[in-house]
Symmetry: C2
Subunit: 217 residues, 2 copies
Amino acid sequence: MRQSNKREPLSRERILRAALGVVDSEGLEAISMRRVGQELGVEAMSLYNHVANKAAILDGLFEIVLAEMPAATKAATWQVALRDNARALRLVLRAHPHTLPLFATRPAVTPASIIHVEAALELLRKAGFSADEALCTLQVMVAFVVGHTVAGYSPTRPEEESRPAYEQLSKQDFPRVHELVAVLARHDIEKEFEFGLEAMLAGLEARLTRRKASRKE
Amino acid sequence: MRQSNKREPLSRERILRAALGVVDSEGLEAISMRRVGQELGVEAMSLYNHVANKAAILDGLFEIVLAEMPAATKAATWQVALRDNARALRLVLRAHPHTLPLFATRPAVTPASIIHVEAALELLRKAGFSADEALCTLQVMVAFVVGHTVAGYSPTRPEEESRPAYEQLSKQDFPRVHELVAVLARHDIEKEFEFGLEAMLAGLEARLTRRKASRKE
DNA sequence: ATGATTGACTTACAACGTAAGCTTATGACG
DNA sequence: CGTCATAAGCTTACGTTGTAAGTCAATCAT
């Protein structure tokens, strides 16, 4: 009955990877200590030898997802670097949509992502941003990327109330909303992301040039 | 022993308000059917006469928080309107920081906020944005506001590992990160929000003028 | 060989969401 | 006034959860 061969020992690493597997295939609320243990052929309580508690597993999930982000390639300009980073972050988040709620609870910047932060800061500082501006820029970019990805890709459970209301109530009272119904059909959420990303970058660039101009006179 | 006087009857409204009270003072994970019932002097199961289940309560919380957003005042330009809306949304979210995780799971636009959406769309369309651009603009703004507020105001439980790492490891390996340590002390997250908001607005405005120019030639 | 350490398993408990059934107050209608 | 339907509360019960506490077998240093 018992797992016959000498099994490889448990570890934080293996636990997190098993947990990520469960979350990816069954959703965030599917993980319980017993479920993760079962995935590893182990009792729930055995996990406590390697992780402090369930919250620590969620923290770890957040961490290993973020660690999937590829190292930044050498970019020509800070604009390109920021854009690349934003897209890379979005891709990582989209790869594990069920973990997205985690990013709403935990601080976005973590030791795992510090390399990316350092690289981005370096470029921004050299481009002429002050330390504070560079910090703001990064935080604001992350906020946008995470915010937009969470909004668009959080797996919505099949609630039936919210959808139909649009077509019915809105014709005369909300003409502009009604107008969107047709648009929504062919609306591309990736285009929407790029739309926001470009706006953000353009705004940051404008700020930088204005800043340089005011310093020089 | 029993609650003596004829008590006023339960209702979805009362349940949600009680739940919001619990969440505001004790945090999101403090709400359980029994806890909310206790708040109203009622058994847990009685709540099921007015709400479908716990998820419905969370949906309702989301809803009544969003409903606190004040009606938009008549704004001079779409820029001012967007800025006002963004700040108003942020204020509402900040007023109930414990509910912020809810905004990561649920769709941002809800029947409760449709009036604001309609008003904003009207202004954007009149300013020259296409229907799709107006939709993108709104979604992107909401994503930024929610994303940034969640990142900055989600009540972080007192985890002790993440903080001290900064000062230690970063001096030579991460000089730019290290540079931030001093900045962080006097860093103002509201300024940071305004920084991002202005960048976003500037970028959107640039897009609009470019669009008008290209249509005219 | 022996003793300590590690890491698994077992048991147990309180709290959770909620299904099912029961009880009581309200109000319509003969 | 009596009857009875409906509504809205209460009670009990079940399965699942996170995890504290205790047990036991394997590994390893001496």
